[in-house]
Symmetry: C3
């Protein structure tokens, strides 16, 4: 195995100023820009298979209901009653029987968000139920992933994803089924988690098991795109997938061309989805910032239903491998967060193996106008 | 039983903007206006029966000592030594033996707050004990209720209570004795608790037991007054009081005219007393805001001493009934607090069954000058 | 025993305004002035006896590594990697094997703080290891105490200590060894702890055991100095030291003249060292402010190695005595913090037995320019 050469970075390839990780105003601006005005990955269609099925997602400081309506479409609403503002639903997931009814005074909405019942409002002048639908949230889907946009979604999800759907078509992600979920509470800024995910220089030090299965210098990243970053790494000879013993317990996903049978593709899809595509399964992380120095991470393992149906199916090797690797990453990421708070910290120099971090930093640090007009990281 | 008709509300009868429940500046202004510059119900004379008896009350961010002095009057002081500012007393209630002595350097005050001992101050030029009494708090009483005014009380308690003492005279509340106390920590703004108390539209949904004993549309509220709101509800046929089985365990209070034997009167007395007058007992809630989204609630059950003295006296049915009902209310109130924080929340329309909430909102939201000049909710 | 006379204090001898104990801006300014720009006592050379030995100290919001380098000198560095800002070391104490290596990407520093290894930085233009040493912290020592200065130390430790080293020479503190450490979390401003330490008027009330061993009015304080305050107290007749039974379990320290065999010297050495010198042992408190109303206190008992080597050595009487006395002090100090927060609190008058507090208050409250130009508490 040989390391691929890199182009040298410019002199400005330095880590971000500390405020990007500690300052509440910058954090608020990022929440608005990335978590309210862009598409965020909320979960999987798999989670709302039946009509009326729903789950809640806490985005920034909002509680959002994602529900499959009676016609089979996925809808999303703010979890707020139009009467007195009560949170409508507290149970994290479940199934609505055709209606969402407020537990306080029984204002009732159908699964398209229309107000259909409002007791004792006859005496209120000019009251009209049509004026009080649930506040809508934009919904779009891609290969089984549900994206939501709190601002409604002025530009389509497709613009944000660019050529990624074409690139990831072979994995037929929409066919995959959730097998395991682990939720982590990481005491670090959300961007540190993406930065950690975007380089493997730390792998020989932090992840000896991973390094044993996949060399940290292998693979060539795709050219960076304003809304996603990533590329493949090679599995070492004889390694079939990333799991405790490097062996697959199920077949290679059926659409994959042979040249991808010994690679893992890693993509950070801004702002909150980390997608790790293995020959036999998909690992997803979604990031949910809670404060400048705290991020909730939902990690899920998704396999093909044919594999799951196999009597000998055993995902434990893959689950254990990534749970261990995740915890190693969170620990070092939390140490980054702690160190960055120091008043002496100044931006440090990146190596050319940290080029994706430099592109990522430029994407998040450029001014918002430039960002929203679509001018990207390269200019 | 038939519902009483209501006058339709105006177009402006909408819930308050979210800031009234979440904004720290508005909260601070409310604490100053309602909890420092008006009379708040601190407790009952019953709690300081003997000379030297005291209890502490935390009002806004102040600790206040309420004590019966050696002449039998109730006094209230800030719990702050005039020497180095030490908190004088930490035990929530007890009895002082004629003096309050600072645990740090033994500055000693009598129960009228006068400094009577200050060791080793002889070398301090111009030091005079008369200059360092405890900081006084205004005290006034009404039918056994002790009210305090942190600002001293520029206008008398009577002005704040208006015609309420005359109206509630028949219950002879000063005769009643505390039988049970439960303290709740509610994760909601104090005003949401008053609003919840001021309508029963939610009763069929939230309180099935209460609804079984008293119909939610029964009763006609008194005309709203700038400092109190409320009125009676009717007990259903055969129901004697609010308790788990609807039966009284003691006689009707002796002063009550027969027309009140099957009613419960509910009054919210601004800013912090909720008084629920049953045929046989008095339930009181006092509200102690701790932050914009948190309120401590002290709930007490008070019965006539003759009832308590009866060998068969058993208050458990009343205690259990209201403890259950309280918890139902806190849960929905906490959901209101959570929903209101959403950035999409906008004031929603009230029904004409929520008219008292509308009057209450006007009272708390009008500008302070208008409030302090006595112009009320109706103008 | 007779009380020594005091000079009367001026009219301005009053406690500080509440903001000094509660205001975050004043707290930040104090942290900068006293904990970043002056010398603070970090610990003892005893803690880094061997080469490579280190301990961490959290000063204000910084983590500092104090380490003995391979040539035997004590060094101190910010615990921050120059690459991506990672906290280098999390274990509170231990031994480095000649290098400090970052756990993230293995940037490696020698124990003088020089960057000696930086993997994969070849592709970074103009990168030079010499440009990235660890951020240094000033280090100086006095009789076994290690002082650090986050700002590097523009003026020497000696200027800050003035004549104190000469005065305390007889105790030969550098010979003493740590025997016991207790860490306390005190819910009070750091200055309240120093003020409490600087007077014994409270001793008869708060510390009956101490009062039994040493009369609270005994001893004459040294003239106050801008950076330290204190003096001796006398042990009562027959009392040998401060311990549960007033008896020593080891000899008087060898350098002490007989006139000091029945005294305890107490010095508060700004900003964070309280030194209590007994005939047979040294007690030290170091103060670590965490917020305006919270201070971590490290209390240590140090004895002579000859005493420790004695088979019958038993420090428990001294440890238990001061642990008890400490807890009494923290409790009353926390009550001071609680009382001072009241809006009615105003500065109160000091007695002439609280003169050191008045000098201390003037030192911390005067404007920074005056302070840094060396004009002290007396002008």
């Amino acid at each position: 195995m040989q390391a691929n050469p890199r182009l040298p970075l410019g002199d400005d390839a330095r880590t971000l100023p500390a405020g990007y990780y500690t300052d509440r105003d910058i954090y608020r601006a990022e929440m608005d820009r990335f978590f309210r005005r862009s598409w965020v990955c909320a979960g999987r269609q798999d989670q709302v298979r039946g009509r009326g099925d729903y789950f809640l997602r806490e985005v920034d400081e909002e509680s959002i209901i994602i529900v499959r309506d009676l016609e089979g479409s996925v809808q999303a609403f703010y979890n707020v009653c139009r009467h007195r503002g009560t949170r409508l639903c507290s149970t994290p997931d479940g199934t609505f029987r055709s209606m969402i009814s407020c537990p306080y005074h029984a204002w009732t909405y159908d699964l398209k968000g229309r107000l259909v019942g409002a007791p004792h409002m006859d005496g209120t002048p000019r009251f009209c139920k049509d004026d009080y639908p649930l506040y809508p949230v934009g919904v779009s889907t891609w290969d089984g992933h549900i994206f939501i946009n709190l601002d409604g979604g002025r530009s389509p999800l497709e613009a944000q994803l660019a050529d990624l759907p074409a690139k990831l078509r072979p994995w037929k992600m929409e066919e995959l089924r959730l097998v395991e979920r682990v939720v982590y509470d990481v005491k670090a800024n959300w961007k540190l988690i993406i930065q950690n995910y975007s380089e493997c220089l730390h792998c020989p030090i932090i992840h000896p098991a991973l390094q044993g299965l996949s060399h940290y210098l292998s693979g060539v990243s795709d050219a960076p795109h304003p809304s996603y970053l990533g590329g493949p790494s090679d599995l070492r000879a004889g390694v079939e997938t990333l799991s405790m013993d490097g062996k697959r317990r199920s077949d290679v996903l059926s659409g994959l061309p042979p040249e991808d049978w010994a690679k893992v593709y890693y993509y950070s899809i801004l702002p909150n989805l980390l997608l790790s595509l293995h020959p036999d399964y998909m690992l997803s992380h979604t990031l949910w910032p809670r404060s400048p120095d705290r991020t909730e991470v939902i990690c899920e393992w998704h396999f093909h239903p044919d594999a799951v149906a196999n009597p000998g199916f055993d995902p434990r090797g893959a689950v254990e491998f990534w749970d261990m690797t995740n915890r190693q990453d969170w620990q070092i990421t939390e140490l980054s967060q702690l160190g960055l708070k120091s008043r002496v910290y100044t931006p440090g120099p990146y190596s050319d193996r940290e080029d994706l971090l430099h592109y990522f930093d430029r994407m998040v640090s450029q001014d918002e106008d430039a960002a929203s007009s679509g001018r990207g990281a390269r200019e």
